[in-house]
């Protein structure tokens, strides 16, 4: 046990740096996913039929294929096929972003569809174009309602990011694995990694709850309205 303690103490700064890499990848992926998700949701609800179908196909694909397979497919296959040479880190952000985009779109779509239809009608009656109305009236409400779902997605993507080590990204798992294979202190090291993920989950969920409070509209309770 004392040896395990020593290993953890010595490698901790190194692992913590990995946590920074993990956090950066997850934040990047969540933002990328936010953009994809909003576009897909708007296309599905308001877009022309064929585009809505296409969005549905995208979602079906990314919901049905494991993240691990997607990472391999894009990093070793598709990205180089189309001639771009991306770093493992960028690839991870893109792949996780595309995946969470599919899931996020379902959250936003649900939120948009739960808004009373009168909102859009009132905006149109004021002479807004559909796009102006969606941007200024619908999305500000729908995105507020989506924060709990977004928070849930964050904790899922954070955990999925642990798979990035198969591409050699130097995030928490890769570093833990590296130290463990030299010191043979697997158990204590992976437990430490687990704790780091636990803390990152907690921090993110807490921050998003703060955000939810900050942007709450006084007296606006969706479910009674």
């Amino acid at each position: 046990m004392p040896e395990a303690f020593l290993v953890i103490k010595e490698s901790f700064p190194y692992l913590l740096e990995g946590a920074g890499v993990t956090a950066a990848a997850v934040v990047g992926a969540m933002f990328f996913g936010l953009i994809i998700g909003v576009v897909l949701a708007v296309l599905q609800v308001y877009g022309p039929r064929p585009l809505g179908r296409l969005a549905g196909l995208y979602i079906w694909f990314f919901r049905g294929v494991p993240v691990l397979v997607l990472l391999f497919l894009f990093y070793f296959g598709l990205f180089s096929l189309i001639g771009v040479n991306l770093s493992a880190f960028t690839s991870v952000i893109l792949v996780l972003g595309m995946t969470t985009g599919a899931y996020q779109s379902q959250i936003y779509r649900g939120a948009i569809e739960s808004l009373p239809y009168g909102q859009l009608k009132a905006a149109r009656a004021l002479g807004m174009s559909d796009w102006t109305a969606i941007k200024n009236i619908i999305l500000p409400q729908a995105l507020r309602l989506s924060i709990p779902g977004f928070s849930n997605e964050y904790s899922i993507i954070l955990k999925d990011s642990a798979l990035a080590f198969v591409l050699g990204t130097s995030e928490i798992m890769a570093r833990t694995h590296f130290v463990a294979s030299r010191t043979y202190q697997h158990l204590p090291l992976y437990v430490t990694a687990g704790i780091l993920y636990f803390i990152l989950t907690w921090l993110g969920v807490k921050a998003l709850r703060k955000l939810e409070d900050r942007v709450r509209i006084p007296g606006y309770s969706h479910h009674q309205g």
Binding site: F61, G64, V65, P66, V69, G77, G194, Y197, F198
Partner: protein
């Protein structure tokens, strides 16, 4: 396109991997769901101490990545002198993880049932077990079903992680082939297609089940 690669190499290898994947999924999903029901029921109605324990269990396994859990089982336990076969480690890891998520849905389903339902069964002379069996669980299961279905779909996809702890299933077979022939795009697209089919079939079956259990107006408000 050279069809012989597909017919003689890719498809046989992936089919072999598919069998292994199914051998992972079936016990994990079924035992995981059962365990989830038990843990979820304890978390909703159990003795306060058991409730705390259940909450802790669910929090632990939902708060850490499945890869970390698998690594602890496969690489970590040997530090304590416990050696698990890759297959065993994978199935145990999947069961522990998925049942934590399932317990969350079951617990939510149970807690969403109005108190009046229980009162009415008591007033009619139901015993505790009868009321659980015929009134409470049928309602809770219906409420939990969408979440539980979703979790089964997740499990199908995450079964690919078994490859990382050296149990060569669908993803593993494909990876070996892709590296050997240097044909990443087509091989991983093919693997993706296998998973897509599994997920779509499971989705279809579970949706059908949901439809069969559908009750007009139930669960709204």
């Amino acid at each position: 396109m050279d069809w012989s690669f597909y017919a003689q190499e890719l498809v046989p290898a992936l089919n072999q991997g598919l069998v292994k994947t199914i051998l992972l999924i079936i016990p994990s999903a079924s035992i995981g769901l059962l365990m989830g029901i038990v843990v979820g029921t304890l978390r909703a109605y159990g003795h306060p101490l058991l409730r705390k324990l259940g909450d802790g269990y669910a929090g632990l396994f939902r708060g850490t990545p499945l890869v970390v859990q698998l690594f602890v089982l496969y690489f970590g336990l040997p530090n304590l002198g416990i050696y698990l076969e890759p297959y065993t480690a994978a199935v145990v890891g999947f069961i522990l993880c998925t049942s934590a998520y399932q317990s969350e849905y079951i617990r939510g389903g149970l807690l969403s049932i109005r108190r009046g339902q229980l009162l009415a069964t008591q007033a009619l002379g139901f015993s505790r077990i009868q009321s659980m069996l015929w009134i409470i669980l049928p309602q809770a299961v219906r409420r939990a079903l969408p979440g539980c279905s979703n979790e089964i779909v997740y499990l199908i996809k995450y079964s690919s992680l078994a490859y990382i702890i050296t149990f060569i299933e669908l993803t593993g077979e494909g990876k070996i082939l892709a590296t050997k022939y240097f044909r990443f795009t087509e091989v991983f697209l093919a693997i993706g297609l296998y998973y897509l089919i599994m997920v779509t079939v499971a989705d279809f079956g579970l949706k059908k089940l949901e439809k069969r259990l559908y009750i007009p107006g139930f669960g709204k408000g």
